[in-house]
């Protein structure tokens, strides 16, 4: 996918995106190869780009609450009481994130149902 702002352009393979988090008007992309990049774009705008540019593989990405988009292929652990979500590629990359219990519960049910896979 291509993300272009008024000052820069980022071209990235969607399968390399582990998650995208928000800090106000900025979005931070975290990649499988350990790098991260901040772009001047709100998370909602990133979500729209994902939906538009990734017609089929866009469904790999899930918006969780106001501040997080994850790649469902990297979900390795969900713990509701701890509100913990671990994204991992199985060997080199692991990220522990937090989300609300309700959102994680819905995510867990979604994965269990195996829909849209």
């Amino acid at each position: 996918m291509v993300i272009s702002t008024s000052v820069d352009l980022m071209r990235v393979a969607s399968e390399d995106i582990v998650f995208i988090s928000s800090d106000g008007n900025y979005s931070s992309f975290v990649f499988t190869y350990g790098e991260s990049r901040v772009v001047t774009m709100q998370l909602g705008q990133v979500e729209r780009l994902l939906a538009e540019q990734l017609a089929h593989s866009g469904a790999d990405f899930i918006r969780i609450g106001k501040s997080l988009i994850i790649n469902r292929n990297f979900i390795s652990y969900i713990n509701l009481p701890k509100q913990q979500l671990v994204l991992s590629d199985g060997h080199s990359s692991s990220h522990s994130l937090t989300a609300s219990k309700e959102a994680l519960k819905q995510l867990k049910e979604l994965i269990e149902k195996g829909l849209n896979k």
């Binding site: 988090s21 928000s22 800090d23 106000g24 008007n25 900025y26 931070s28 991260s36 901040v38 001047t40 709100q42 909602g44 979500e47 729209r48 994902l50 939906a51 538009e52 990734l54 017609a55 089929h56 593989s57 866009g58 469904a59 990405f61 899930i62 918006r63 969780i64 609450g65 106001k66 501040s67 988009i69 701890k82 509100q83 913990q84 522990s96 937090t98 989300a99 609300s100 309700e102 959102a103 819905q106 995510l107 049910e109 979604l110 149902k113 829909l115 849209n116």
Partner: protein, 286 residues
């Protein structure tokens, strides 16, 4: 672009899919029909008076990425002093405050344990909060250009570039991005004072409070020696004359300073913390 509906923190949404059952349930078709009819009726009523001439309005020059504040940068220099911290005590109402003002020093953020024997450090205090469950930093944090944490959990921020420091309150600060681009430092904390006005936070238990402040144009750390509520501490800082302040890790969190005679004074009493992301704001000798 298609319009994305808003989402709250208790919802999820499959992007590009139909939701997969994880998000909101679909409304029946007849609800949409009623909504459509009502919307058309409202539109007709709303457009009716528009036949009258409208007064010209000023153009909207705001943009989504416009910063909320204009930051002013500070560094304390005094040629009559060595690189050191001047410690002063004062009493506001009944609250005893200790003011640590570093002079001729370079600020930075440090990750990991600090060496208390490092005499180049003239002032150090724990900066961003850590999560109790996983030990990670709460809120956005940039260390020497490397973003280590993301997210807006607290509206106060501190940024450091080229030996200068700024403190402010904003949900959107371009300094996070600037820090990643220019090798700077950035962290978030609870706001306490914004432009001389106290910022209210959700009530918490009384504790030993500590804040990074701008007092009379100088950067300093102010700590109280009694347990106090967060909002009471913020109000006391305003009475003292603080113009900007964000809280630092309080309680018995690690911290110390060195005075002009080389004496070491502790800010806290917890020295054994060894979390991976333990972080300090540090002022080093120039």
């Amino acid at each position: 672009m298609t319009k994305m509906s808003d989402i709250n923190d208790n919802e999820i949404r499959v992007i590009g899919g139909d939701g997969g059952g994880g998000g909101k349930k679909r409304l029946p078709w007849w609800v949409w029909l009623i909504v459509g009819v009502v919307a058309v009726a409202i539109a007709v009523v709303a457009l009716w008076p528009k036949q009258q001439p409208e007064e010209p309005t000023a153009p909207d020059t705001t943009t989504a990425t416009e910063p909320e504040t204009t930051d002013i940068w500070h560094s304390n220099t005094d040629n009559s002093l060595p690189s050191c911290t001047i410690v002063t005590d004062t009493l506001i109402d009944t609250l005893h405050l200790r003011i640590f003002t570093p002079y001729n020093a370079t600020p930075e953020l440090h990750i990991g344990r600090l060496d208390t024997a490092d005499t180049d450090i003239i002032l150090a205090a724990m900066a961003a909060d850590l999560r109790r469950d996983n030990g990670r930093i709460v809120g956005a944090f940039v260390h020497a250009g490397e973003p280590l944490s993301w997210g807006l959990s607290k509206r106060g921020y501190c940024a450091i570039f080229d030996g200068q420091i700024t403190i402010g309150v904003a949900e959107n600060s371009p300094l996070f991005e600037q820090a990643t681009e220019q090798g700077g430092y950035f962290f978030r904390q609870y706001p306490a004072v914004d432009k001389g006005v106290m910022v209210e936070n959700n009530p918490e238990n009384a504790s030993f409070r500590r804040a990074l402040c701008l007092l009379n144009g100088k950067v300093c750390i102010i700590a109280c020696t009694d347990r106090v509520l967060m909002n009471d501490f913020s109000a006391t800082l305003v009475k003292l004359g603080v113009s900007e302040a964000i809280l630092l890790v309080g309680g018995t969190a690690d911290g110390w300073c060195r005075t002009d005679d080389g004496k070491m004074i502790r800010l806290g009493s917890s020295y054994a913390q060894n979390a991976k992301y333990m972080n300090h704001i540090v002022f080093r000798k120039q």
